[in-house]
Symmetry: C2
Subunit: 163 residues, 2 copies
């Protein structure tokens, strides 16, 4: 595939993000199972449901630009999930695991914040306000999810892990 | 390696981020060479200099906790750099390349924002205020770098690429 215009770059990145979201849908239940704190478990569950909506919104954007909703391998998300899995395999106690899970979830959220931020800007540049609005809704949810994880990180979990 | 306490998790993540920063030091000059816009070229150059300082600060944190400054493979940054390289190989025109380079730099910045944010929180929890301050200085620079790239993205580059 060669890319020589912004609309092609937009499509390429859209495919990349669709692949990433689908990968997250598989990773979050594993992370939820490893979590001990009920609030953290609940956060993984609710963010998984949100992620399902993100996939639906991406499919709508594909429809808006008249392209099939096909993902394309996203090396960054593959790496993020590999890091998450190897980290989960190395941690032995539940409090430290919870602290690690929060930090890994935030790394995933920030990757998505960067990509959706880019997609919103490009959709606007391409004059596709409808696509920009859909992508912005997801971007706001990613920001909110990240803030939720930060709150948890600053709360009791780490204090317990340090004890 | 097994991890069973927050200080071990902190050390593990510190190694991961040291590896990531060193990888960025190699990647940014390649991105600078691919950039056309002089402002973007300058941004890669100045952020490369900043990244060298980030490495020095990380080495200081290793010293504070009495551990050798050794990196550990960070799968996420390996994936991010692979994504950047395959993207650069696919793009044919310089304006689209500039738009892509900005977006890839922002993905890298956001990964670092997530990791440094986590490290600051953990350093505080572990009662190491000096380490927290050093890491916070870098965190602030990563936020500023991301904002700088956003400004460029919203500026004329994408408009030109869409023309």
């Amino acid at each position: 595939m060669t890319i020589s215009k912004l609309d092609e770059l937009f499509l390429h990145t859209l495919k990349d993000v669709l692949y990433a979201e689908r990968k997250i849908l598989k990773a979050f239940p594993k992370m939820e199972r490893q979590a001990t704190d009920p609030k953290l478990k609940a956060a993984f569950l609710s963010h998984r449901e949100e992620t399902e909506e993100h996939v639906v919104r991406l499919e709508e954007v594909f429809e808006l630009i008249g392209k099939p909703a096909r993902g394309a391998k996203c090396d960054a998300m593959v790496g993020l999930v590999e890091e998450t899995e190897s980290m989960m395999a190395e941690i032995e106690d539940s409090e430290t695991m919870d602290a690690a899970l929060i930090s890994l979830a935030q790394a995933v959220e920030h990757y998505e914040i960067a990509r959706y931020g880019t997609l919103v800007a490009w959709a606007k540049q391409l004059g596709n306000q409808k696509a920009a609005d859909l992508l912005k809704t997801t971007l706001d949810e990613e920001y909110a999810a990240d803030k939720g994880f930060t709150k948890m990180a600053e709360g009791r979990l780490n204090a317990v892990a340090a004890a």
